[in-house]
Amino acid sequence: MTTMTYEQAMEQFDPVFGIEVHVELNTATKMFCGCANEFGAEPNTQVCPVCLGLPGSMPVTNQKAVESAIRLGLSLGCSIRESSRFARKNYFYPDLAKDYQISQYDEPTCFEGSLDVVLDDGEVVTVGIERAHMEEDAGKNTHKGGTGGIQGADYSLVDYNRGGVPLVEIVTKPITGMGARTAEVARAYVATIRDIVKALGISDGRMEQGSVRADVNLSLRPRAVAGESQDDVPFGKRSETKNVNSLRAIERAIHHEAARQAGLLLAGQPVIQETRHWHEDTGSTTPGRSKEEAEDYRYFPEPDLLPVEPSRAWVEELRGTIPEHPAKMRARLKEEWGFSDTDIRDAVNADALSLIADTVAAGAAPQAARKWWMGELARTANDREVALASLPVTPAQVAELQGLVDAGTINDKLARQALEGVLAGEGSPREVVESRGLEVVSDDSALEAAVDEALAAQPDVLAKIQDGKVQAAGAIVGAVMKATRGQADAGRVREIILQRAGVEG
């Protein structure tokens, strides 16, 4: 086998790829039962006869999950099937309670869509969507001792909390013609899906917790020779790399697979159509089971469930709830707010974009809104280890706080104290300012008295000022601010000092 780099592989071959993204929905309950759908609980505490597959139990479809799936489908430009049956995918595995997975097979609710993906340089690539269908997740096996694999472990533990969690699987059509940008497009596509599900509010979109997972299919075919269209060259054999769970890993997995396959092909060896496992530590893949010996899932329509039959009226109602495409919204806000690329990217990564937008809508200037959410509030959220949106302060309150600053009622330092009060549940910014007595002192006679007192205490400083060293006034400003517990307008204090010293500012 010849060793190749990704770039060399992409020069020699024409890559074709496709991506399956599994999105875990954040519905309150599971897909087919009333158990809580929450990440991180003690093993086997969120289970019932239905998701444990106990004899006699029966599934009932979670309508909220159907709603989420349809909204996602609409966001991907999909058509919504008028009637779609669930199917049973039959296979034995200890984490699959019923030994079949309820999934949609030949009748996905959402089909035939497309999604615009914006690359870093602004180029837009349109990705064809084959389908987006609903299914249930399996539980989680942990193999202990021995080899740590299912066959060689001393024993295995199964946690069924995840069993029955609602998933939507989004499958792209084959994506061709991307050449060396393949890895970048793949990454941008998954990032866009993640942004969309977050904007829809149907998933927390946390790849590190597995709530958005990707399987990457890749094959290479020879470059068309002169006079031949690339479209006429048949696809090569593909590998399917499972559970690639970060944006960076998607790029790396494609780099690795392209180089691996190119190496095989150049050495005259076949690429085997197979499932491969991604290893984050080594940045490489290893074979899973081969598709040739793939199981026959014996799909048939799930007789325990009625077909999903959303009314046209409901679908149209849901269409009205679809938020703007995240990339378009970003471009628009960047323009409207005068943000830099970094400002926007940071805000997106901090999940602050909609909070900033709401704060702006409530009357704050965009930069001021950004400053609060990306500064003081981001730090607080980080300290408390909570999401920004779950801090006990609303965008309207942040706008109110900024309004008080803009009106000169409080300065920045007092505003931070007021915010602290808001976060402590003491009331609205105005209420906190009042109850804590945070308003700036704008009464000149009080300030003059404080200045006089400070000057009298530091006659050497007064001498320096009068000597022309105006910057020495800073020490007096500091003393006055201290004496007024920060509630003085520092600019006004400075003016008074210079006045008293008989120097022009």
Binding site: P49, L54, I150, Y299, D304
Partner: protein, 504 residues
Amino acid sequence: MGAARDWTRATAAQMAAAMKAGEVTSVELTQAHLDRIAAVDGDVHAFLHVNAEGALATAREVDEARAAGEELPPLAGVPIAVKDVLVTQGMPTTAGSRILEGWEPPYDATVTRKIRENRMPILGKTNMDEFAMGSSTEHSGYGPTRNPWDLERIPGGSGGGSSASLAAWEAPLAIGSDTGGSIRQPASVTGTVGVKPTYGGVSRYGAIALASSLDQLGPCARTVEDAAYLHEVMGGHDPMDATSLDEPVPSCVDAARQGREGDLAGVRVGVIKELSGDGYQAGVEQRFEEGLEKLKALGAEVVEVSCPSFDYALAAYYLILPSEASSNLAKFDSVRFGLRVEKSTVEKTMGATRAEGFGDEVKRRIILGTYALSAGYYDAYYGSAQKVRTLIQRDFAAAFEQADVLVSPTTPTTPFKIGERIDDPLAMYLNDVATIPANLAGIPGMSLPSGIAPEDGLPVGFQILAPAHEDARLYRIGAALEKALHDDWGGALAAQAPELEVAP
């Protein structure tokens, strides 16, 4: 005053009335049935588990509530037997399989819950063919049930335990499940009454699934009226069963009452041409004809209807049922409940557990179903079977244009001997030829006794079928026919069964 009344010979309706009148208590009734079980079940083997203490505890509570003047449901205090297909908290549930030996479910089926809410003492769990696969109860993992009419003969299946418990006077009411006739065929061969409601009329939640698109729970009793009371207890919408009908429970009791008035003027009764002739025992046909004469005498108009697709019903059924069953039974994998035969790997453990825990008939159907659903065979087998199903539904729709109810013998023959067909699955399957079409179409059906075949002295069943949602029609026509027959016989047919030997 002579010997104390034997309450086990009363109907459920009579028991309910007697309790209300203060003539008997639920504890007395329940104890009488428990005594009867102790006396005869060694021979009959209708029960896999007897819930003596639990039943008596419920009975005591009912008696106390009644004494305190509490308003009680109609069947409160009337004891009942429950087919072991239904999960029951606090009682083992096996579905007749060794793979579930000793399993105590952590939850109640919806129908179990309704029985408890209606405060009916549960006498125990009745025997059945393993996972309801069979027509004789010979495929139970715990040994066969015997027909109280002749202990050498089968009591039908899969619900042979429930029907035999009625015929042996061990219970006045029982729960059954009917996938291809498992309520109606046992009723037929034990001289009792059994009803398969419209698909979705009774919640399946907590009934261990055989074939989900065919399974339906229903009442078993000795009279049509008793079945009607139990039907109303069991029926109704259940949010836990997505296929359960969201419509009111049919007025079965009222319909039965109306039927007993004996006026069937204007009712059109269709005789299904295809369910007679070859393979039908002479005495069975004779009693069926007599039943038709009774209906005519009550004013009904009898017409002949044809359902040509019924010829393919059995074949379609034996593709759909095993296909669904092969998937439904996959969960018996040793991981979470039931039997586990430990081997070196999880796959070997699953395999060994299933090899040991499942009986031959279950394995046969799992293999059939797995094959029928395989890639490349799906369209030819499962797909074609579903098309036949549609044709059968059309046949019924056309027939119900001509008739209000359809009738046939419930089974082609009276009960055969234990062991007679155990090695001939096809002969066994033929037993259900008249009952299967109703399951494929989802329509309701009833079997009630129409007499004794002269050639062997064994009971014969009369089947009535109605359009979907029209369960009440079964009770009206059934009660009318039953009354006419009882007037001739001087009481229920079960009273003509030979007395069982009572254990000392």
